[in-house]
Amino acid sequence: MAPTTTNGTAVVTMPSDTTIQITREFNAPRHLVFRAWTTPELITRWWAGDRGEVTAVEVDLRPGGTWRYVMRANGGFEVAFRGEYSEVVPGERIVSTEIFEAMPDKVAESTVTFTEENGRTTVTILVRHESQEDRDMHINSGMEQGMQSSLDHLEQVAVSLR
């Protein structure tokens, strides 16, 4: 039997010099995964992971519409991300830009794809950066913080959350 929750690891790969791909399977049909992915009250419950609290979520889910997620990290500071949707196929696919507000000139493009098989849904996030440096900086920002021994500082990994 399939477990109630997957609790698996996110699989991170780098399909090219400027991209990061994150894949994970969920034990739920894709219309529910899509709902959890795009409904502000639900995003609030998962997007910060263990790193803090989501304090604001705005989602205008349509091409040309914008989104903005803000979290207060456990260390007390806030980090915010925003972007604009360019493609929205309900239940299937979302394409949007992604900007970490502390570095507003770095614009990434993210494509989230939802595919369902036997009632389980695979989510694939492909983040395309403008350069290899931008991509590596994005991952580094998480790692440098993550290597600090104090858990108080670990929350700063939030700067790499998207």
Partner: protein
Amino acid sequence: MARAATTQDVFNAVAERRRREILDLLAGGERSVGDLVALVGIAQPLVSKHLRVLREVGAVRVREEGRQRMYRLNGAALQPVRDWIRGYERIWSERFDRLDAVLDELTEQEQRDGADDD
């Protein structure tokens, strides 16, 4: 654009697609340059150039066997790359574990609502 020399940085060394392909092949066991040329399908000088970069960052080791140069993977040199990605994976895994909980709830709710309709 400023960038660390590929010859000093294992990250840049593995950033090139052909070099990753060579590493994948060597993960299956030791290979001669001739084997690699045949398998990767590019000219030998290019394969040799990629092997040199990989050797300089320690990602591959070489030994002479008669007139052949045999290359093998040195996985330890790639550890920084693995560690680097794992930290990022952890962030997403935490996030997804929470999403699992949300989905369980939505699934239950939907089943309950479905039952109500009967």
